[in-house]
Every structure is written in structure tokens, then in C-alpha cells.
Amino acid sequence: MPALTDSAIHTENLTKIYRDFWGRDKVRALDDLNLTINRGEVFGLLGPNGSGKSTAIKLLLGLIFPTKGKAFVLGEPIGSNEVNKRIGFLPEESYLYRFLNGEETLKFYGRLFKIPSRELKRRVPELLDIVGLDAKARKRKLREYSKGMARRIGLAQALINNPDLILLDEPTTGLDPIGTREMKDLILSLKKQGKTVLLCSHLLADVQDVCDRITILFRGKRMELGAVKDLLQVKDVTQISFKGMNDGQLTQVKQFLASMGVNNAEITHPTTTLEDLFIRIVRENTAAGQSYTSSES
């Protein structure tokens, strides 16, 4: 296990149980989560609805408090001011002040980081350019924004402090295909800058495209954890591929394969899609007739 200072996020038996008015256990939303996310990687947090993804993110941000276990973000206890100075968070919907315009929104969040006015004057237009909000959009109130524009300004506020760790909850929701592409490019660009990205998404193709490693949560428990390419390998099937083959050779190869094989053939394991993997895990862990969401106590 890497040292705390080496990891961007580190959790130990992180558990969250929601209780009712009388203090009785109601839902075990997260169950003994042990996870380490390395600095500089793009990490995907996957799971069906109610699997504990949002609970995990809320815990890491200090929005709710763990029932049990510990968590460290950038080597510091969660929720501390020192942590908050170095993280950016894009919630699943853009929960922003709808009466402010784009520029005012970024300036407001910038002030919370005590970014000097001169620096803000430079940084705000730059960020708005990065997320693709034009001059006209910047002056419009957020309540007039489309869903895609709201995601863009949400992302901009998450990046206002040039964070080391960015937590993105469903970042491509509401974006059109071009916007989705741009978002994925931006995530890869952040990775290139050495930043850590925790991505939580239902759009598995997006995760597959950008994530280095993923984990899949199910009913609050961690089911899978590893590099995307490793997890997607189908290890009990062999795939042989080669190129520049004509029909005659193909016939011969078929014959050869039937008898001995060829020297230049590339032999690999075929990969499945992340979607297939995701569905398989969910189905395997769901008993017949049961809901796949977190278990009620």
C-alpha cells in the first residue's frame, strides 16, 4: 500500500450508515470501502444506482460524516480547509447560484479561495474559454443556461483554484457528443498536467476512454478494482490476429491452424466492453427477484 502522502485518496474501512429519526440503522450506503487512488491517475468510480458512489464522494468531500473508518484526501483528513484548497468538485448537477452570471459565479468561487482580483481577472476568461462558454454566455444568468452550459460553468468553478484533485460526478451528463468529446479531452489534458481525476459516471464508454483504473461498487461494497485494460480482458479466450493476408493465405492459415499454426500471428485475449463487464458483475451479485440497490437494514 502506498504511503498516505503518495496517494490522492485513501480510505480505510470507510462506512456510512444512514439512520432514521430514532437512530435505527436504515441504509448501509457504504460498507467497509478500502480504496487507494494514486496521484496523477484518472480513476473511475462505477456502480448502479444506490451502490454508494455518491455517498463515497460526499464522504470524501466532507458533506456527510463517516459512520466508521477513515479517509484521507491528498494526505490530509477529509473536509479540512487544507484539502479543500487543493480540490475541485463538479457535482452531478450544477448546483450553483442561478441568479449570478457566468463571470460572477467564477469570481465568487475565486474569492472563496482568496485568489487576488488581478489573478481572477486573468483566470476567469481563461477558464471560460477552456470550458467553451462564449462572451455572450458569460454575461447571462445561470438560470438561463442550457444543461450543457450549466455543466461547463460547473466544470469551470471546479477548476478555478487549479486543483490537484478533481472529483467529477457524471461530468458528461447533458452534454452533446461534441461537448462529451471536449470533456473527455479535458480530462486527459488534466491527467497530462499531472492532476488526479476521480470520475463517477454511468456512461461507461466515457469511463473506458479516459480512466486508468476503475472500481465497481455494488450495494456499498467494492466489487472490482484494477486497470481498465486488465479488467476488460477475457482470459479464457485466445484471439489471433494478423494483417496483409490474401485469400490464398487465409485458406492456408486455416489449414495450418487446423494442423500446426503460423509464426507471424498475433495472439491476444479479446476484450469485452466495460458495459458487458458492468452488467455481468451486477447480475452475478443480484439474487433472483432482488433489487440491485443498497441493502436496507
Binding site: 460526499k58 458533506l63 480547509n81 479543500n84 480540490i87 457535482p91
Partner: protein, 692 residues
């Protein structure tokens, strides 16, 4: 009114300043211990950023649009007013303007502050705030500041309107006063008041000084200069004198008492009072139609012989009766024989009649004349207490009054408002003179004639045609140092309407002077208190006075905001609004219950409900429950803010300069309640999961 401490077990120092102790504890624990880490990184710029968002939200949601509506309402209501004169018109207009300002700012503050936090949590905007490097302490203070800025904006708009509206209206009203003065004859009683308004304006605020004390006497006091007057006269059945005695327990132990039991041999009140019956009605006059509040002796005069009895009673520190006059008199004569007052009367107080006297460190002895129309003469040696010896051969211990005669309290009969000053011709009938003693109340040097403001209640006897006659007033100012008296100033007075009269400044030189005030109309009574007559020491611009009043209103708005934010940290907004109103009005509400919360109320309620006769055990239970409820309410009131401290409207409405002490008191209430509540809000919010 003195209320017995509800938490008798607490030391007086804590009980008296309970809200300060609780507030201090919350601040020390919440801010300096629990929240020290957040306090150390407290950033005013982040607080300002949060407040700016709150302000922008309110502005962009058009909260300020409520002000034009309020202004429209004020203008509309003003059209329906029917003032009796120009000053009343200004007073009514100002009252509506300030009332509207107060209502608008309070309602806005409650709604904005109660709904803000629950809505931010509900729509999850709080997610993007608390995940930034900002502490919950900064969030709470930012929100309080933000809504305080909104309140300031509302008050600024309303204040500018009030100033313009009042200035415009007073201008035309003052022109009307000038025209009226041209038609009024020179000696008219209303003229000084109108001249005052013409010269000083209707809006100019007056810096007033009240008298240090007020005495209701039957005759004018000695005209010799100085405070140390040697005699005073009180009117039978219409006033008394209260003399304070300090009674440490060791003083109450009878000389020669081996058991050291206070008052074991009783107590003797020795009274030496003279009288003058020249103006007394003959035969004995019928009792006044006005309700007597001074207890009369049990026996009544039989007629024939002039009735010169006195009524002596003992009161506690709160001036509530400990030993009533009829108990004091029982079996002992109180008829005065010597008009010069050299013949003492001794009244023995059996310790069984007054078992609680030794509990009080200070008591008052009240001497009242029991016969109507008789003037009773009080002197410095008029009253003494004697502790009889326990053993023969010992001398009684003499206890002198706690203070000299200049500090004795000469009261009139209680009227509807204050004490009654009986009117009439002093040479022919018993009358009162109210002596207002001003000390260190020099007017500003520039004045050649100094204005006084007087307002009172008027009660009429209902006898003859006195009801129809105007109530006349005669005022003389006597300088203490020089002994010079001014000519009598005559004026007409009406119930609860201020009148003004001027006195040459030479009689006020040095700032120590007595104002002798009489009602010269027979059958009329003035209801006065110490604050009824005030000297106008200085004037202050309306704008500045309005600003002070709005500032006090703004402080109240901040208190409202703090309470509202506190409520909204753990309640949904509709319930938070209810709790906010309960917290703000709680102290006032309990104060309205008054005597209903006195100890012993439980027993009284149980008796009234008829439990005593039917089921005695139920009586005890009901009594305990009611007592516990009364105690709970009294204690609750002590820890809730007293919003009456923020009442500055009345001063402005009366044209009186809002005193600096009012601003200070408002600030103190704010400090005692708003700051601890904000710290509590922070503690709650820090432990609150803001994700729904």
C-alpha cells in the same frame, strides 16, 4: 417592578446577569475552544464574499421592491389621518413611516434569513460552497452580514423617503403655524407652544433632560436656597412620604437579648408630624370619587372633632406593603394633637404581624395623612424606628433613616398615569404642587430663554362644571444657588399633548433648579411622573435623529437575522420562522403576563379552579404544575432578547433626540444575544451533514 428571582439557588451575580453568563459561555466554548481552529483562519474577505452573494440574491430576486409598496401604503394611510394640530400631524405621519419601515425590514429579515440556508441545502448549492476552503463560521457570519446589508438597503430607502416626505409636509405645516400666530392674540395660552414650533421647526429633535426627582407636596417648599430643606407638607388622603431604613440583622436584635433573635421584642415606629387644618373642609368631606390607593385605618372619623389621623405602613424594598396601615394602627391612636408636630406617636409592631421584616435589608416607612384636606407637616426628625430592649433597664435602640430628608420620596395619589396633582386655588382649597428638581441640567449657553416641554394626563372630578373648563397650569422656576424665582408662566394643557413654555435662562444658571408646577383649575388633577416635565437642553437635526432611529432599527434587524439563521440551521424554514417569532416575542410576551407569574400563582389558580374543596391532592398537583410553568416562563424570558430595547420610534415620533444610551442598550442586547446565537449556529452547522 421587582420580581423575586426565579432561580433563587443561583448567586445574585449570576442570576442578575444570566443572559451575559450564558452568552459568554457559548462564545468562549463555541468560538475559543471548539471553534479555535476555524477562528484562527477566519477570513473577512470570505465572509464578505458570502455576504455579497446573499445581498445580490436578495436584490436580484427583487426583495427591495417591497419598499415602493410600503411607501405607497404610507402615503395612502397618511391621507386618512385626522390630526388635531400641526404637531400631531407630524407625529402621526412619522409614526406611520417608521412603523412601515420597521415592519418591512423585520418581515424581510425573517423570511430571507429563515429560508436561505434550508433552501441552499435543499437545492444543494451548499455542496459547491462547503467544498471550498471556507469554514462554517465564515458561512454563518457571511449570511448574517449579507442580510444585514439587505436590511440596511431597505432602511436606507425607507429613511430617504421618510426624510423627504416629512420635510415636505412639515414645511407646509410650519407655514400654517406662522399664519395662525398672526391671528392669535398675544396672551393666548397656546401661543408659547406655537411659537416654539415656529422658531424650532416641527421636526427638530429636542435633547431633553429630566428632573432628578419629583415630589408631590401640599405646599411649596422652603424658599431658602439649597437642597437641605427643613420641612415639607403632604395632603391628607392624597399622598404620602416614603422614608427608607437600612436594617442589617444585627441592628434588629433587641438590646440585652441573649438569644440574639432579631425583632424578638418587636419594633416601634415613632412619628412626629404636624398639621394644618385651615383649608380642611368642614364638616368632614365626603370621600373622593377617585379610587384611593393608600390604605385607610379601619376606624372612621366620627365627625365633630377635626380628624387629623395619620396612616403609617411598612413597605418592602420593592415598595410592596409588608405591614399595612390598619395592622399598624390596631389598638393604637394615630390622631395628631399637636399642630407643631412636637408630640410623638409611637406605633408598636408585633413581630407576629410582620414576620418577614428581618428578611429585607431595606424597608420603607410610609406616612400618609388619613384625613382629607389636612396638610401634614413632615420634618427631618419626623420618623424613627426603635428596637425595644429585651431586658428591663436597657435603652431602646434608635434607628435613623437611611438618608436625609432631601432623599425622601414624596408621592401623590396614584392616578391613571403617574401621581395626581390636585388643582385649584391654593389660597382657598387644598391643592398640590409638583416639585421637579433638576440637577446638573444646564441648557446650552446660547439660549436666552429656555424652553420646557410638559405633557401629562388630566383627570377631572366630575363635580360641577369643571369638566368643561380648560385645564390651566402655573409654573415657577426657582434657582437653587441664588434662590431667585421666575415669574409664573401660565399655560393650557391637554391630555398627553406636549406643551412648551419658556423661562429666562438666568433662573437656570448652574443647572440646579426646582420647577414648581401647579394646576390652577379647581376639580382637575394632573397625572404626572418624573419625566412629565423636561428641559430642552439642546436641539438636534431631524436627519441625524432619524439616522439614529434607523440605526437602532437596523441593529434589531441584525438580531432578527441572527435568530432566524440560528433557527434555520436545524429546522425547515416554515418551522424556523415560527421559532424565530417565538424567540423574538418571548420576552415581551412573558412581560405582558406580569403579576400572573409571581410566586404563589399556582395556589391561586388551583383555588380559582375549585380544586381546593373537592380534591385536595389535585390542588397540590395543579398548584405545582402552574408554579413550574410560571418558573419556566420567567427563566425563559431571562434568556430571550428584550426587543423593547430597540424601541426608538417613540422618541422620534415625540420629537425627542434618541439618546445615546438607547443606541448603547441596543448594541448590548445585540452583543448578548446575536453573537452567541451566531456562534451556536456555527456549532450546529459544523456538526450538520449538509447533504440531504
Amino acid at each position: 417592578m421587582f420580581v423575586a428571582s426565579p432561580i433563587a439557588a443561583l448567586p445574585p451575580m449570576i442570576d442578575q446577569y444570566l443572559e451575559w453568563w450564558i452568552g459568554g459561555f457559548i462564545i468562549v466554548f463555541g468560538l475559543f475552544i471548539y471553534g479555535l481552529r476555524d477562528l484562527l483562519i477566519f477570513s473577512p474577505s470570505r465572509v464578505w464574499a458570502i455576504s455579497s452573494v446573499c445581498f445580490a440574491e436578495s436584490i436580484r430576486k427583487r426583495v427591495l421592491w417591497i419598499t415602493p409598496l410600503a411607501i405607497l401604503g404610507v402615503i395612502l394611510i397618511s391621507q386618512f389621518q385626522r390630526p388635531i394640530d400641526e404637531a400631531d400631524a407630524v407625529r402621526q405621519m412619522l409614526k406611520v413611516c417608521l412603523f412601515a419601515s420597521g415592519v418591512v425590514v423585520t418581515i424581510t429579515a425573517v423570511i430571507l434569513a429563515c429560508t436561505n440556508l434550508p433552501k441552499e441545502i435543499e437545492n444543494r448549492v451548499i455542496f459547491t460552497i462547503v467544498t471550498k476552503p471556507i469554514t462554517r463560521l465564515e458561512i454563518v457570519f457571511g449570511k448574517v452580514l449579507g442580510f444585514a446589508r439587505v436590511s440596511a438597503a431597505i432602511l436606507l430607502i425607507m429613511g430617504l423617503f421618510t426624510f423627504g416626505y416629512m420635510y415636505f409636509n412639515s414645511f407646509s405645516l410650519q407655514r400654517g403655524i406662522g399664519q395662525r400666530l398672526e391671528t392669535i392674540e398675544a396672551g393666548a395660552a397656546v401661543r408659547p407652544t406655537l411659537e416654539y414650533y415656529r422658531d424650532n421647526g416641527l421636526l427638530t429633535a429636542r435633547g431633553l433632560a429630566s428632573a432628578q426627582s419629583m415630589r408631590i407636596l401640599a405646599r411649596e417648599p422652603d424658599s431658602k436656597p439649597g437642597d437641605n430643606f427643613q420641612e415639607a407638607w403632604i395632603l391628607g388622603t392624597e399622598g404620602d412620604v416614603l422614608v427608607a431604613f437600612d436594617l442589617p440583622p444585627e441592628l434588629l436584635i433587641p438590646p440585652g437579648d441573649a438569644t440574639n433573635t432579631p425583632l424578638s421584642a418587636g419594633l416601634v415606629v415613632q412619628v412626629k408630624v404636624g398639621f394644618d387644618a385651615r383649608l380642611a373642609p368642614k364638616p368632614v368631606a365626603a370621600p373622593s370619587v377617585l379610587p384611593p390607593t393608600i390604605a385607610a385605618p379601619e376606624s372612621q372619623p366620627t365627625g365633630g372633632v377635626a380628624d387629623t389621623r395619620i396612616a403609617v405602613s411598612i413597605l418592602d424594598q420593592a415598595q410592596e406593603t409588608l405591614v399595612p396601615a390598619n395592622v399598624m394602627e390596631r389598638g393604637q391612636g394615630t390622631q395628631l394633637i399637636d399642630p407643631a408636630g412636637n408630640q410623638p406617636i409611637q406605633l408598636f409592631v408585633d413581630p407576629r404581624s410582620a414576620p418577614n421584616i428581618e428578611r429585607w435589608r431595606r424597608v420603607y416607612v410610609s406616612i400618609a395623612g388619613a384625613a382629607p384636606g389636612i396638610a401634614y407637616r413632615i420634618q427631618p426628625d419626623s420618623i424613627k424606628l426603635l428596637i425595644p430592649p429585651a431586658a428591663p433597664g436597657q435603652q431602646p435602640r434608635v434607628i435613623e433613616p437611611a438618608a436625609g430628608m432631601e432623599d425622601w420620596v414624596f408621592r401623590g395619589r396614584f392616578g391613571r398615569v403617574g401621581f395626581q396633582v390636585r388643582g385649584g386655588d391654593a389660597a382657598k382649597e387644598p391643592t398640590h404642587v409638583a416639585v421637579f428638581s433638576f440637577r446638573d441640567a444646564a441648557p446650552s449657553a446660547s439660549n436666552t430663554a429656555v424652553p420646557f416641554e410638559f405633557r401629562c394626563d388630566i383627570e377631572r372630578s366630575g363635580v360641577d362644571d369643571a369638566d368643561e373648563a380648560p385645564t390651566k397650569l402655573s409654573v415657577v422656576v426657582r434657582n437653587i444657588k441664588t434662590g431667585k424665582s421666575s415669574n409664573a408662566v401660565i399655560g393650557d394643557v391637554e391630555t398627553n399633548r406636549p406643551i412648551f413654555f419658556k423661562v429666562p435662562a438666568e433662573f437656570l444658571t448652574g443647572g440646579d433648579y426646582d420647577v414648581l408646577l401647579r394646576c390652577t383649575t379647581s376639580g382637575h388633577y394632573l397625572g404626572v411622573s418624573r419625566a412629565s416635565l423636561q428641559v430642552v437642553q439642546a436641539s438636534q437635526s431631524f436627519a441625524f435623529n432619524l439616522l439614529k432611529s434607523l440605526f437602532v432599527m437596523w441593529l434589531m434587524a441584525i438580531l432578527v437575522i441572527s435568530v432566524a439563521i440560528f433557527s434555520s440551521t436545524f429546522l425547515s424554514w416554515p418551522i424556523a420562522i415560527v421559532l424565530t417569532l417565538v424567540m423574538l416575542l418571548g420576552h415581551w410576551g412573558v412581560a405582558q403576563l406580569g403579576d400572573a407569574l409571581q410566586p404563589g400563582i399556582g395556589n391561586q389558580v388551583a383555588t380559582d379552579l375549585g380544586f381546593s374543596s373537592s380534591r385536595p391532592e389535585l390542588t397540590v398537583t395543579a398548584s405545582k404544575v402552574v408554579d413550574a410553568l410560571a418558573k419556566f416562563l420567567t427563566v425563559s424570558a431571562k434568556v430571550l432578547p428584550d426587543i423593547s430595547q430597540f424601541a426608538s420610534i417613540e422618541d422620534l415620533e415625540r420629537g425627542v433626540a434618541v439618546p445615546a444610551v438607547k443606541v448603547r442598550d441596543s448594541l448590548l442586547v445585540l452583543l448578548t444575544f446575536a453573537l452567541p446565537l451566531s456562534v451556536l449556529s456555527y456549532v450546529i452547522l459544523r456538526n450538520k451533514e449538509v447533504a440531504p
